[in-house]
């Protein structure tokens, strides 16, 4: 009873809250990091150095008027933000933040569930989010959102192919689709997969930027071209859901990348005995640190690079990344058979 219902429910509650807090603070972090890059200070008013800014933002968004355009498709318009937010959250179910730990005399794994098709689950659930974007743009019954949601869907689908190809070569290495299994195989190999699969890592990272609609691939919400992108007509909490989903997706991609390529909760160089003192730091802290590095790079790139044009983005996806990814799968497969 306790093991099957109470503990999982508790874990879900804790994780959901942690993710939502992390998301709102990621927004603040982004504003701060970009501000420092641009020699500004960023939010400074609410709390010391603006640390309470996310709360002020949340209050503002919740009390804002929630407008539905007169000619919008009311039901779809309402459902779209939810369809974007939910997949972004439920992906976290299979992400392992750490191994099993002893808590109050019980052995508790630091993940909600470990299904044997974890990777497949992530790929399929994460791609559901695109429905929300398409429907949101379509239901707004407005030109800019429509253009932008068309861009978004084309972009997500194209990059999905390249990203999934890199995952195939990773699965070839690990021999399992379970997220926990992938981390454990990295522990057994004594090697983070980023060193074994650098090409796959690069493609996964670029594809991850594109799939989360982040700069330099933030075409769907290129405000200089399409004003607000697919959420132009949204306001208040519904806009907030789109917004939060984008940042939740960033965390998802970062934590998936951490799990797959940076050894998840493992310490650096898991094969080197001499570094065993690093295990004093709890596993989940390693995980958070690595995820944070990814997030920081996401923000850093946004502050540095201009934006690709839509056709260039498609060319990069189909003509560069996908062939390389397929080649990488073949090379990995051949190497696997020969070695």
């Amino acid at each position: 009873m306790v093991d099957t219902i109470v503990i999982p429910l508790l874990k879900i509650a804790i994780l959901l809250n942690a993710v939502l807090v992390a998301v709102s603070y990621l927004v603040l972090l982004e504003r701060k990091v970009i501000a420092f890059v641009q020699s500004r200070l960023g939010p400074m008013r609410v709390g010391p150095h603006g640390v309470l800014q996310p709360i002020a933002d949340a209050v503002k968004l919740m009390t804002k008027e929630d407008i539905t355009p007169a000619r919008a498709d009311r039901w779809v318009f309402t459902a779209a933000p939810i369809m974007v937010m939910v997949p972004a959250l439920i992906v976290f179910a299979v992400i392992p933040f750490g191994p099993e730990v002893e808590l109050f005399g019980r052995s508790v794994p630091l993940y909600i569930t470990d299904i044997n098709i974890g990777l497949l689950y992530i790929v399929s659930v994460a791609s559901l989010g695109v429905y929300g974007i398409i429907l949101g743009g379509w239901a707004s019954n407005s030109k800019y959102p429509l253009l932008s949601s068309l861009r978004a869907s084309a972009q997500l689908i194209s990059y999905e192919v390249a990203v999934t190809m890199t995952l195939v070569s990773l699965v070839l290495m690990a021999g399992t689709l379970s997220m926990v299994g992938i981390v454990e195989s990295q522990r057994d190999a004594g090697l983070w997969f980023v060193f074994a699969q650098p090409v796959a890592f690069a493609i996964f990272f670029i594809g991850g930027l594109a799939e989360t609609n982040r700069a330099p691939f933030d075409m769907p919400e290129a405000e200089q071209e399409l004003t607000g992108g697919f959420h132009t007509e949204y306001s208040g909490m519904r806009f907030a859901l789109f917004f939060l989903a984008e940042y939740a997706n960033m965390i998802v991609i970062s934590s998936v990348a951490t799990t797959l390529f940076l050894g998840g909760w493992l310490r650096p160089f898991p094969g080197v005995e001499g570094l065993a003192f690093l295990d004093l730091i709890p596993a989940w802290i390693w995980f958070v640190l690595k995820t944070f590095v990814f997030l920081y790079v996401f923000l850093w790139i946004r502050a540095t690079l201009p934006r690709y044009r839509y056709d260039q983005l498609m060319r990069l996806g189909w003509k560069v990344l996908i062939p390389i990814a397929i080649g990488n799968v073949i090379v990995t497969g051949v190497a696997k058979v020969l070695l």
């Binding site: 970009i34 890059v37 641009q38 253009l147 330099p216 200089q224 071209e225 934006r307």
Partner: protein, 382 residues
């Protein structure tokens, strides 16, 4: 041209399976990239621009007509409000035109200071152009970097004349104020800072692959066509035409300084970018030379208390940061205001080349091209 290819392909199709009509997209007047209040009606085929119709006039204040009812000194204030990001250049253009009409000799010191102010203004205006252009293409950090340096120039202007945007910094016959003590040192310091910051901008953009892909071969226009369209300033020079009023018909003190007129080769957005980046450097070169050789002497020439030019008309052009700004002024010789006042605004001339530039490109290129021709709507609409 890609746009023609698209329509040619369409004509070949026997009977389209889907109803594919062109979509009309209204870009502006409240669009983040239209640099003020510009409206562009785009005709789109998918994301490709088939045609563009530029609608101007949202910022029309009737400055030309107003000027016919103001006396000659009051008009300087109005010229501030035309190109409000390069007020000193418009001031200079107007004052020199009136001086030409009255055949007034401007003292050498005044001409030097005018040149310095003008080149500082060019750097400030190009900073704004670089920032917004890069921002339109998505590089938002450059925007804040460029504004940081523009701020330094605004501080210099504030110290010189007390204003930061609309300077009213010149008078017919000379200048209202001499430079404050210590100002020359600050200007030299600024030139050194700006030199190093230019490298910083270039690190972020010039060899950036995404920047190259976004700007190369976008909005290509060759020299003869650019001339035929009436483009001017850096937009024209990007197409390889070495026309610069500062060189061709020197005014102020430009004939006394060494500087180059950078020109492009391909006439695309990237060349226009390179031309303006090089103009930054040339402007700093001119400022340094002018500061070193700043002569002593009066700052106002012999001008009667009541300015009343003799009957006649004249046209005079100067090189503003946006291009060639020309003033046509007719005086009847009796009244204390112009009989006719007309401005050839470079932004307006460049803007009417925009439909030609964007045709066949994507929506994303439209904003890149608006940035590339560097317009300011206060000057377009006047």
């Amino acid at each position: 041209m890609p746009g023609d290819e698209v329509s040619a392909m369409k004509a070949d199709l026997p009977s389209p399976m889907f109803d594919t009509t062109e979509m009309v997209l209204n870009m502006g007047p409240q669009h983040p990239s239209t640099h003020g209040v510009l409206r562009i009606v785009l005709k789109l085929d998918g994301e490709r621009v088939v045609d563009a119709d530029v609608v101007v006039g949202y910022l029309h204040r009737g400055i030309e007509k107003l000027s016919e009812n103001r006396d000659w000194t009051q008009i300087i204030l109005l010229t501030d409000r035309m190109d409000y990001v390069a007020a000193a250049s418009t001031n200079l253009g107007y004052c020199e035109t009136v001086e030409k009409l009255m055949s007034v000799e401007v003292p050498r010191r005044a001409r030097y200071i005018r040149t310095i102010l003008n080149e500082l203004q060019r750097v400030a205006s190009h900073c704004l152009w670089l920032g917004t252009h890069a921002m339109d293409i998505g590089a938002m950090t450059v925007f804040l970097y460029a504004f940081r340096e523009r701020e330094l120039i605004l501080d210099l202007f504030e110290e010189y004349c007390g204003a930061r945007l609309t300077y009213n910094s010149m008078r017919v016959g000379g200048l209202p104020l001499d430079i404050p003590p210590g100002w020359d040192r600050k200007v030299n310091e600024f030139c050194d800072i700006m030199d190093s910051k230019l490298t910083e901008y270039e690190t972020l953009l010039t060899h950036n692959r995404i920047w190259l892909e976004r700007t190369k071969d976008v909005g290509v226009i060759d020299g003869p066509e650019a001339i035929a369209l009436g483009l001017c300033g850096p937009t024209l020079r990007g197409s390889g035409v070495g026309r610069d009023v500062r060189k061709d018909e020197p005014y102020a003190a430009y004939d006394e300084f060494d500087f180059d007129v950078p020109i492009g080769t391909r006439g695309d957005t990237y060349d226009r970018y390179l031309v303006r980046i090089e103009e930054f450097r040339q402007s700093l070169r001119i400022i340094r030379q002018a500061m070193d050789g700043l002569p002593e002497g009066p700052i106002v020439g012999k001008v009667p208390r009541l300015i009343k030019p003799p009957a006649g008309e004249t046209y005079h052009a100067v090189e503003s940061p946006k291009g060639e700004i020309g003033f046509f002024i007719a005086s009847d010789g009796r009244s204390t205001n112009p009989y006719r006042f007309r401005v050839r605004a470079p932004s307006f001339c460049n803007l009417q080349g925009l439909p030609r530039l964007v045709r066949g490109h994507l929506v994303a290129d439209v904003v890149a091209l608006i940035g590339s021709i560097d317009i300011v709507l206060g000057e377009v609409d006047r």
